[in-house]
Amino acid sequence: MGTFIQLVVDGLSTGSIYAALALAIVLVNQATGLINFAQGGMAVLSAYLAWWFLGTGVPLILAIIISMVLSFVIGAAIERGLMRRFEGGEPDTAVVATIGLLTLITGFCGLIWSYNNHQMPSLFPLDTVNVAGAALSVRSIGTIVAIVAIMLLLQLLLMGTKFGLALRAVSINPQSAALSGLPVGRLLMAGWGIAAALGAVAGALVAPSLTLTPGMMDNALVYALAAVILGGLSSPLGVVVAAWIIGVLENLAAVYVGFIGHDLKIAVPFILIFVVLVVRPQGLFGRKSVVRV
């Protein structure tokens, strides 16, 4: 029983990291209708920035905040300088552009900071607390709490503020939004900036357990995309719940299902997607969109 609880809490914790990345993907998608495959790469860059500031003697929490602010600027700059060229065009081209961006950012991190592993300290102490016979790490619990807070903030931002309303309006119909006087360009930049800052949180949370490498987010990106498919693109809450389900299920499968084990547990969200797509094509929480010809 103790092992089970521990697996569930650890699963929720890793699921929370995927959730942060997935929320960033949902945010960009809600604003631009595009899936940003570079989101993982941008999170890696943010983690490297935090690590680099840490090396200059800045305290960890401050380093992470600085990297979040910088990531916001970088995200907005990428939207303005690069992605705006492709927005409103063929979605294929825009997606390929984000894939090019992923390659570029990964390559940039590799060139500047080398492809070797770096150790990033954790934001949370390495202590454990004992709950019902399970030794739960403070890191796991802290990660979960952090993500819940961010999710609530984001939900509030998107659903409860004028800014969120404007963002959603831009995503639904950029032309109408522009005609009603919304600054579409600035909103898109803000959407990308917030998404990048969210990715920075994911990067800071994931780097300690994975060690910092340019490709560390590749797997997390797959999990995040799986969470996005399962949760439905329109629901931040659904995406987080889906990411948690994935995190818990893969942790349980890795231990209790012999064939899967630790190296193949990335197949779990994939299998889950297949089951869900067959049963419920619009995702667990997504609304079915009705299209008129």
Partner: protein, 397 residues
């Protein structure tokens, strides 16, 4: 949304125009003759290393061709093509190890990836938009540990090698020459079959699905069925490229289907030219040569340079390198006219194209209202309310 579809269709017009040029009566026979002579002569004259490199170009050109079927022609982003190459290579290696007849191995190297592709496409194509991209990105990432795990078939991390490219005695050829000839013949057959597929009935259906799924539905074309079909065909061609890969490289390991290879393959397709047969060949050349080049400049900067190349091509030549002649032509014709490089909606070429696709390219504006045709031809901004003119005319092609 209508903005999106309109741009897609002007892109289609541009592609149709490019193919119009190649459809001039003298063009095809001359090209075929020249290419045939060069291809027959080259393997005999080139040094061994050049032959091996060329053979690898053909291998990856076939892989890019498969990706083009699903992505260039049907508009479904796939990040998993390298998985099917790896699968085909493993099937080939296993068949050789078991001593199966080469024809059976050859067929299985296409059938098994085709079936796997079908199984993946059946659920993935149910979700619209970018779901196939989001699902297929997992293929290389799962494929790598899976290949390590299934060591009985794959040789685990060490990989598996098989050598069956020796030239038969009657040919009197060296191994590298024989390999290149075989790869060229099989590759040419694959290109010819695919060309016929994408120019025929199914290709037109693919184009309509790519252009506007709702229009396709209203015409009785099931986007779902055609997406599944395109993905399956792409998997089969991917498996074939895996067979050729094994024939030429003679060794495969889980590393063959690593994630970054998948991205490079996609970049190769886009840089060569999406939705273009010639672009697939250029893509194959990109896949083989550019990493070598960037490695030579600075091995640590390889990924960075590749990302920059991809983004620059998307900026300047959204249609890929294959559209470079058209861009040069347009720039020289409209010098100082403030033309935007890469803006879709290229003016029709001066000569009247004789081929069916060129004719379709010309027919599109006339079939629509005058206002919408002028928007299509002159700018890529605004004009969101105009119907995509080609949707109505595409079936007439």
């Amino acid at each position: 949304m209508s903005n999106t579809t309109r741009k897609t269709n002007t892109g289609a017009i541009a592609i149709a125009n490019a193919e119009g040029i190649t459809k001039r009566p003298w063009f095809t026979p001359v090209v075929i003759a020249v290419v045939a002579v060069v291809i027959l002569a080259l393997p005999l004259m080139l040094p061994e290393l050049a032959n091996q490199t060329l053979a690898r170009v053909v291998v990856f050109a076939v892989a890019v061709l498969g990706l083009n079927v699903v992505m260039g022609y049907t508009g479904q982003v796939s990040l998993g093509q390298i998985f099917f190459l790896g699968l085909g290579a493993y099937v080939t290696a296993y068949g050789e190890e078991q001593g199966w007849h080469i024809v059976i191995t050859f067929l299985l190297s296409m059938i098994i990836p085709g079936l796997v592709g079908l199984l993946i496409a059946l659920p993935a194509a149910r979700l619209g938009g970018l779901a196939i991209a989001m699902v297929t990105i997992a293929l290389p990432i799962i494929g790598l540990p899976l290949a390590k795990r299934m060591g009985d078939f794959t040789g685990g991390s060490q990989g598996i090698s098989a050598s069956f490219g020796q030239a038969p005695d009657w040919t009197g050829l060296y191994k590298d020459q024989w390999q290149l000839y075989v790869v060229l013949i099989i590759g040419a057959a694959a290109f010819l079959l695919t060309r016929n597929l994408v120019r025929g009935k199914y290709g037109r259906a693919f184009a309509i699905v790519k252009g506007n799924e709702n229009v396709a539905k209203s015409m009785g074309i099931s986007p779902y069925n055609y997406k599944v079909l395109a993905f399956t065909v792409a998997s089969i061609i991917g498996g074939l490229s895996g067979f050729l890969y094994m024939f030429v490289v003679e060794y495969t390991s889980p590393e063959t289907m690593a994630f970054h290879h998948s991205i490079t393959l996609l970049a190769a397709m886009v840089i060569g030219g999406a939705g273009s047969i010639v672009g697939s060949v250029i893509g194959g050349a990109y896949y083989v040569f550019v990493p070598q080049l960037t490695n030579a400049i600075n091995p640590n900067a390889t990924a960075l340079l590749q990302g920059i190349i991809l983004l620059v091509v998307l900026f300047v030549l959204p249609g890929g390198v294959v559209t470079l002649p058209r861009l040069i032509k347009r720039l020289t014709r409209r010098r100082g006219g403030g033309s935007r490089p890469g803006a879709p909606g290229a003016a029709p070429p001066p000569a009247v194209p004789t081929g069916p696709e060129g004719a379709a390219g010309l027919a599109k504006p006339t079939a629509s209202t005058p206002s919408s045709s002028s928007t299509t031809a002159s700018s890529d901004e605004g004009g969101a309310s105009t119907r995509p003119p080609s949707d109505g005319t595409t079936p007439e092609r």
